[in-house]
Amino acid sequence: MLDFLVRRVAISVVTLLVISLIVFTGVRMIPGDPARVMGGTDADAAGLAEIRQKYGLDAPIPVQYLRWLGLALRGDLGESIRTRESVVWTVARKLPITMELAGLSLLIALTIAIPAGVFSAVRRNTVWDFLVNAASLCGLSVPSFWLGLMLILLLSVRLHWLPASGFVPPWEDVLGNLRRMLMPAFVLGAGLAAVLMRQTRNSMIEILSADYIRTAWSKGLAGRAVIFRHAFRNGLIPVVTILGLQTGALMGGAVVTEQIFVVPGFGRLIVESVFTRDYPLVQGVVLITASTYVLVNLLVDLSYSLLNPRIRIGGGTGGG
């Protein structure tokens, strides 16, 4: 077990080092001189040289990389060029906002998708099935930017029901937080709801035609009992798999949603830091994201090995 653990951790460390290298060089390949962005249109040559020197941008890239890596290993990802705030602190403030948004949108997606999918499967080939399918097609095909603006125009501008944008931390005002997060969470969750609904419907249709369900019907069990007690649980298994795969996509979708609803989360942070060539921030944000993925993968691998001893012995399920 120890061998396996050491091997997996070593692989993760190497992966992280490669990622850090890709991140660092990738950021420097973005066209546009960061000193020029910082100095503005009216910066003269001396001013630009001073900025480059101040932020170490005049050193060769390998030197810059090693300097940055050395600090990163000590948990210091530097400070934002634009605001002078620590990168770690900035990310720590932004990440929970996006996680809340993703969590709420997941909740909304499940609340819509599961009942609609089951309903559609039970009433398949009826007008209700057609309507639910049409709605899911809309959810898949409507761009989130358009949907967001339409919701703002309807619910904020016309009806004044919800604030058009912004964010209030839940510990300051729970209701205010939910009022501001409802529309972005719905927009972000709409696409996911459509995918989950279709998956639930297909899965339920398959289960409902299984022999054991037919047996349950023939025994004279009530419809609701057959659907929810016997079919539903089994029908959910492929939905959960899809849900897992789609959850990562929520974080990506948050970039657009946060722009429309002016939610100061991780997505906006990435976009703004790239446009302002805030090198330390871009590097820090991407490195933290990548590290999280690597860490989660490592934990998953370790949990597999605990569940299935063949993995830790053979280094793979098929090796033997």
Binding site: I51, T83, H160
Partner: protein, 517 residues
């Protein structure tokens, strides 16, 4: 079972009611202003963004300011400066009894400290602005004296911007180069907090010398980059003041009747910069680009004549901006009212192209900043010039990349704007003099330099205006390294019951003196 469902639906209904019933409008004692961009460092010495100046206007006042007629007036100074020693000594009396927002006094020592910081701090973006100043002396507790290398007329205008903002020495000594995280200056509002990419919050200062001018307990500057989203927030009441309304939207807002739309022609310009000698980079020696656009003035004149500035304004900007053909905006007292912009003359443009040996037309690439408004501007130019025989390829580019390419001499032509300065020197000198810091086209004409340098030295406005007229004749009539096309209007929208707002041509929002009716 049925009863349980009823309960669930009732709960859901109540939750929706609770979520939608809250107050959607901002509280009246807090004014919410939406900006299109997040400012950079909130330190007057290091700051460079335009939107940052809007924040400073409320918490960092200056020695001098400008009014809506571009007249410079004393703000933290007690009076206009005294100029002596042939223009090489500038004496400034300060307003008495003024305190920084941390309660420490703003006196001559503090102002000297601040101006020296602007001049000497590493990474200062004010250093070049104050470059003519050789030393600053404290004459008495409320008087400072600036010694200059040579007479420099634009100095007072320079002190009406960030270079003239005193900062609290106590706060600087405490925070060092982190001053931007909790800036302390003199202003009707003081800094409270900043959430990057989201908001900057200021609150009414308890130390400001004229508290009656601050009618709001709090100012919240929200960052909303997208024009459509900013507009939707104005209409929903989530923001009170919208900065930079798009021209088309401004017409719609006027029709709605709920909002006041304030438009003022800005101090800057937008033009097409034509590279003539920058082959390998702005800091390298000039080279021969070998293209007719760079080398033959007839081709550039033909391009100029193919454009109809008024039509560009109507088509691209719904007539909401101000057409122009010089670097000086019509709002400036230095603007030459007698100048007529060249009219469109396609026949003459074709003749000039033929005379330049290009009877079948000429193709070149025009770089534009990749946003919807600039793309529209580029497309209008492309269409107009085509009729005269120019086949323009538009190259949309992200702003920072385009600036770097321009510096490095990689662009043939570049549609780019300049936010403008109060003194015309700031719009011309650095772009048009040999070796000027922003002269990316590397053109050089010593006769133009002589005119522009002389205009810096003398203080008589009429004489300076004459010198600028002569220089502009040479720039726009001969070398055409910049074809000036229009002056951007700063368009602001707010509810009609917000009173006391005056639009100033620098486009900065000034909430001081503004109140709800």
């Amino acid at each position: 079972m049925r009863r349980t469902y009823r309960g669930t639906w009732a709960l859901l209904g109540l939750a929706i009611l609770a979520l939608t019933a809250g107050p959607a409008l901002a509280q009246k004692k807090t004014l919410v202003v939406a900006l299109n961009q997040d400012p950079d460092l909130l330190d007057p010495t290091l700051a460079r963004t335009y939107v940052g100046r809007i924040i400073f206007a409320h918490m960092c006042e200056k020695l001098f300011d400008i009014d809506e007629h571009l007249r410079i007036f004393p703000q933290l100074a007690a009076s206009m400066p005294t100029i002596s020693d042939g223009g090489k000594t500038v004496t400034i009396k300060l307003r008495g009894g003024v305190k920084f927002n941390d309660g420490t006094p703003m006196n001559a020592e503090a102002v000297k400290f601040s101006l020296d910081r602007h001049r000497e701090m590493k990474g200062s973006n004010r250093r070049s602005e104050l470059e003519p100043v050789t030393s600053i002396e404290v004459v008495d507790p409320l008087t400072i004296r600036l010694r200059l290398k040579s007479p420099f007329s634009p100095l007072v205008a320079t002190l009406a911007d960030r270079s003239g903002m005193p900062v609290s020495p106590a706060a600087v000594n405490k925070l060092g180069d982190k001053f931007a995280t909790a800036p302390v200056c003199v202003g009707p509002w003081s800094f409270v907090e900043r959430v990057p990419q989201d908001r900057i919050v200021l609150e009414k200062s308890t130390h400001y010398f004229d508290p009656g001018q601050a009618h709001f307990d709090r100012l919240v500057f929200r960052i909303i980059p997208d024009d459509n989203v900013r507009l939707a927030n104005l209409r929903s009441g989530d923001i009170d003041v919208m900065h930079l309304v798009a021209p088309t939207d401004s017409l719609n807002l006027k029709k709605e009747g709920r909002f006041e739309v304030a438009s003022v022609t800005g101090l800057g310009y937008t033009g097409i910069t034509i590279n003539q000698r920058n082959k390998t980079g702005k800091t390298q020696p000039p080279g021969d680009l070998g293209t007719p656009l760079a080398n033959d003035p007839r081709v550039r004149e033909a391009f100029d004549l193919s454009l109809d500035r008024e039509a560009i304004n109507q088509v691209a900007w719904d007539g909401q901006y101000t057409p122009g053909c010089t670097p000086i905006a019509p709002v400036s007292p230095f603007y030459d009212k007698s100048r007529k912009c060249p009219g469109r003359d396609v026949a003459k443009a074709k003749q000039l192209l033929a005379a330049a040996g290009l009877p079948n037309g000429y193709a070149f690439e025009l770089t534009i900043v990749n946003d919807p408004q600039q793309r529209r501007f580029g497309e209008v130019i492309q269409g107009m010039a085509r009729e005269a025989g120019f086949n323009i390829t538009l190259r949309p580019s992200e702003f920072a990349s385009a600036l770097t390419d321009d510096d490095n001499g990689k662009l043939q032509a570049f549609a780019i704007g300049w936010s403008g300065r109060v003194d015309p020197d700031g719009n011309i000198h650095q772009f048009q003099t040999c070796g000027g810091s922003l002269n990316t086209t590397l053109v050089c004409d010593e006769s133009i330099d002589a005119l522009l340098n002389r205009a810096r030295e003398i203080s008589d406005q009429a004489q300076r205006a004459k010198l600028y007229r002569e220089a502009i004749d040479k720039i726009t009539g001969g070398r055409r390294n910049v074809l000036y096309i229009y002056h951007l209007n700063y368009i602001l929208a707010f509810p009609k019951n917000l009173k006391g707002y005056h639009a100033v041509p620098d486009g900065l929002i000034r909430i001081k003196g503004v109140s709800w009716n």
